[in-house]
């Protein structure tokens, strides 16, 4: 511990837990390891076993598992078996090992705050009574593949080493390795290497440190692995040496970055439900773990770890509302600028892009790809929320032409005959465009690209109609903030017509639910999925229908004790391990919670939130993407996904607390829906514009404290109370 007092760790173990994944992240790099202290993380992935351990930076997996071996007097030590303590924070992992020979080893793994890399500090202390010779071996397989390309690793590398360390290159990606002190020897694939340039297949790059320790003596080895996209990595060849020279400051810098961010976020207190309170703290940290700023052009949140650690437009849209609730308006603003910067300005079939479309994926390079039916639809509403939280209407002006392109894109996807938004076929143009190019062709026969992009839900998936409805409504609100002399093109999309269609054409009386989709000819897809609940949340169905739909969704064919399935287990195509055809997804559980609150059923809403909370606690502050449909076991699941965190946070603020900020107008609407039996709840530090509000709820009453520079109008039911700048007030609530 250097430079301050440690906050409580996220995870604390006193013996190795090799099956437990750990993640430590900075803004441009991350390390994935296991709770045995090794930078290995073998994990079931798409039904196979893949080791995800190692270093990730700038959207590039830099290394495979970064192995450490220690020999004392020629005998190899078992670092896992000798682990005596493991403490993990979001920004660092520290392990202590006591070897049989009396050698104590402290290891700290820290993503570097100011650079794209990860540091590994070793402190050795000899507590025995006789001198010992110690050999420390550090070995790393170069990986150097962009994370958005699934399952590929280059097999040719160019490598050399000099006084500044090892430099490895493949394609546009680079890896640097440096240490202080320098190693006694280097190896390539297990044989001694003097550092001369090699090109070809390289499996492992190693360093050997030979130490002679007398009783009571100590030694230190600081290593960094850094790199990413060659054109965006700062510092040149000498960077590694600079980084290791600052090793004593690594951990404090990481901690400072995190604690500063946390201090700006709201705190929640639920005395009647400590599990929810604990889960909020975990989810907040998990969201921050996804922050990324890998180069000056890209700010946002990666979708997840380990294999979705690039920026995905859809996932970012689900996360930004939670970022706003965390009070991080600047991060949300830069994220919005990032995503609109890569809006397609014309049709580009090779990227599956239509003019006006926002990107599906984005990674440093920059590398980006389009071809989803929903990503673009989210952003008008996200921007409307941004204005509501911050009052910064000028961002709307800045993005005005981009929003006009969104209007055109939406119109182009609406069927002129039935007036419904059309999904499917987005990537077919890509295949056609690539057909005649090159001697290698490949593809995935996925004709559709909704949020369940491995399912075919053509032509008019129900939640996309809800999204279009919400997008058009948001655009109508945003239109008032832009330059009147530059109106957007007139839209032929009628939100009222879409809402009516959802109510009537999607009605599925036999199930008291909504159809999952409609074909262009009107044929309904009689598949029971949680997606239809988005219509309940949006208020597009009558209250009685909404209640019936929530009742139906919570029947055991769709709902389990660990969350909601993506498809009813009564469906003939149900498969408990199919990604979007039966697995349980936490985002679907959050949708159900949201819908339950929307119909006023606080007890079921909270029960669903507790389902998510239990997973967050059990998973040590990570949040799996999905689970098998037949048992609560992650399958083909990233161990942390923004989808599984951000909607949970959103429901806490928007539904349980019922908060709707309007910073432009200095207003906050509060409609809490706490379960009967709760005695009190409080939230402190919710940012609205330039101020922060604290709320304490007791049945029938709301205490408000506001520190903003101008008065805040707090509305609750029919009550409206003006809270002066820096003042407090009590708002009566109807019971």
């Amino acid at each position: 511990m250097t430079g301050g007092r440690d906050p409580p760790p996220l995870v604390r173990f006193d013996r190795a837990q090799p099956g437990v994944p750990l993640l430590v992240t900075g803004l441009s790099a991350a390390a994935i390891l296991s709770a045995d202290g090794s930078l290995r993380c073998p994990r079931e992935t798409r039904g196979g076993l893949i080791d995800w351990g190692g270093v990730y930076s700038q959207g590039v997996r830099l290394t495979g598992p970064w192995d450490l071996g220690i020999e004392v007097e020629g005998s190899p030590a078992d670092l896992s078996a000798s682990l005596r303590s493991l403490l993990a924070w979001r920004w660092a992992v520290r392990t202590r090992h006591l070897l049989a020979s009396g050698l104590e080893v402290e290891q700290t793994i820290v993503p570097l705050s100011e650079a794209p890399g990860v540091g590994r500090r070793l402190r050795l202390r000899h507590t025995g009574t006789s001198p010992v010779s110690v050999v420390v071996r550090s070995e790393v397989p170069p990986f150097l593949a962009p994370v958005l390309v699934e399952g590929l690793k280059p097999y040719e590398f160019e490598v050399d080493a000099g006084a500044s360390g090892v430099h490895c290159k493949s394609g546009a990606h680079v890896l640097g390795l440096a240490s202080a002190p320098g190693p006694s020897a280097r190896t390539l694939d297990g044989t001694e290497w003097s550092g001369e340039r090699r090109v070809g297949e390289i499996g492992r790059i190693g360093a050997r440190y030979e130490l002679a320790l007398t009783p009571g003596a100590a030694a230190r080895i600081d290593e960094v692995a850094w790199g990413g996209v060659a054109s965006a990595v700062p510092g040149g060849a000498g960077y590694g040496g600079i980084a290791v020279a600052a090793a004593d400051a690594w951990e404090a810098a990481g901690r400072r970055s995190w604690t500063t961010w946390l201090a700006g976020t709201p705190s929640l207190s639920f005395p009647s439900d400590p599990l929810l309170e604990q889960a909020y703290d975990l989810a907040r940290g998990a969201l921050r773990a996804l922050y990324t700023h890998p180069d000056p052009e890209i700010t946002g949140l990666v979708a997840g770890y380990p294999w979705y650690c690039a920026l995905w437009g859809r996932d970012l849209a689900w996360m930004l509302p939670a970022v706003l609730w965390m009070g991080d308006a600047d991060w949300a603003q830069e994220s919005l600028r990032t995503i609109f910067r890569y809006q397609a300005t014309r049709s580009i079939p090779l990227l599956a892009a239509e003019s006006g479309e926002l990107p599906m994926q984005l990674s440093p390079g920059p590398v980006f790809l389009f071809g989803t039916s929903d990503t673009t639809l989210y952003y008008p509403e996200v921007l409307r929320r941004f204005v509501g939280h911050t009052g910064r209407g000028e961002l709307v002006g800045e993005l005005w032409p981009h929003l006009g392109e969104v209007v055109r894109w939406i119109d182009g996807k609406v069927d002129p005959i039935d007036g419904l938004f059309t999904n499917g076929g987005e990537v077919l143009a890509l295949r056609d465009a690539a057909e005649g190019v090159g001697s290698v062709h490949y593809g995935i026969d996925a004709p559709d690209t909704t949020i369940w992009d491995s399912a075919d839900r053509r032509d008019h998936a129900v939640e996309l109609q809800v999204l279009v409805h919400d997008a058009r409504r948001a655009l109508a609100d945003l239109a008032a903030l832009g330059p009147a002399r530059e109106p957007w093109p007139a839209s032929r999309v009628d939100p009222a017509r879409i809402a009516e269609a959802v109510r009537t054409r999607y009605a599925w009386p036999e199930e008291r639910y909504l159809f999952d989709s409609l074909a262009r000819n009107g044929t309904p897809a009689r598949r029971l999925r949680p997606n239809a609940l988005r219509a309940v949340s949006a208020g597009l169905v009558d209250p009685d229908v909404g209640r019936a739909m929530v009742d139906r969704a919570l029947q055991p064919d769709l709902a389990t004790s660990w969350g909601l399935r993506t498809l009813s287990d009564r469906d003939p195509s149900y498969d408990p391990q199919a990604y979007h055809g039966g697995q349980v997804w936490t985002i679907a559980t959050a949708w159900a919670a949201d819908a339950a609150f929307a119909i006023g059923d606080a007890d079921r809403g909270v029960a669903l939130l507790r389902t998510i909370a239990a997973r967050l606690v059990e998973e040590n502050g990570l949040a799996n993407e999905c689970y098998r449909g037949d048992r609560p076991e992650p399958f083909d699941s990233c161990f942390l996904l923004g989808f599984s965190v951000a909607p949970f946070l959103g429901v806490l603020f928007e539904r349980l607390w019922g908060l709707t900020p309007d910073a432009s107008d200095g207003r906050l609407r509060v409609a809490p829906k706490f379960p009967a039996g709760w005695a009190t709840a409080s939230v402190r530090g919710v940012r609205i514009g330039a101020g922060r509000v604290d709320l304490t709820w007791t049945p029938g009453s709301l205490q408000v404290h506001w520190d903003g520079p101008a008065p805040l109008a707090v509305e609750a039911g029919t009550a409206r109370v003006r809270v002066e700048a820096g003042g407090s007030a009590i708002v009566p609530l109807g019971r």
Partner: protein, 179 residues
């Protein structure tokens, strides 16, 4: 043996010669135009980044020049799984439009102890194609005459339903030629 799209007599028939060359020419021009669009819209660095990924995708899976004749068949090597990682419950392979019977195809992934016949691969006995390690395919009963040939693989993940397909074209080299 059944055939797949692109087989002689399939959709490829009648598109030979000038028609195919014209299609290729048109695709190249289209690519060029789209490259200009990317550069104009997002900067030259974007074009470089995208081009680098496209090149990586093209070269990272099939090991160039590994398509060779062997005794009573052909073999080739993949260096990575095609597009989808993880375990596959079904794999089929064809050459020049004709599927090779699964019993005649074996896959030897990475450091697995022995080759696995494809007729022994199913959802309960899937095969994982390793990342960054060689996986050898052996197809018995395929004409080993040296020629330019097209190989197609179709794979079904045990986790994500949509079919993954991968095609490469290369010279089928004689058994004695160096890899």
């Amino acid at each position: 043996m059944d055939s797949f799209p692109g087989a002689p007599g399939g959709y490829g028939a009648g598109r030979a010669g000038a028609v195919v060359r014209f299609a290729r020419f048109r695709a190249d021009l289209s690519l060029l135009r789209e490259g200009v669009d990317v550069a104009v819209g997002f900067g030259v660095r974007s074009l470089e980044g995208l081009g680098g990924v496209a090149e990586f995708l093209e070269h990272a899976v099939y090991e160039p020049r590994s398509f060779r004749a062997i005794d009573q068949g052909v073999t080739f090597t993949l260096r990575n799984p095609p597009l989808r990682m993880g375990a596959f419950g079904s794999i089929r392979v064809g050459v020049d439009g004709v599927w090779t019977p699964p019993s005649q195809v074996s896959v030897h992934p990475g450091d697995a102890p022995a080759p696995i016949p494809l007729d022994q691969v199913d959802r309960d006995r899937p095969v994982t194609l390793p990342i960054g390690l060689r996986t050898a395919f052996v197809l018995r009963g395929v004409d080993p005459t040296p020629r330019r040939a097209r190989v197609r693989l179709e794979l079904l993940s045990v986790a994500i339903p949509p079919l993954v397909w991968y095609e490469f074209e290369d010279e089928l080299r004689a058994a004695s030629s160096a890899p």
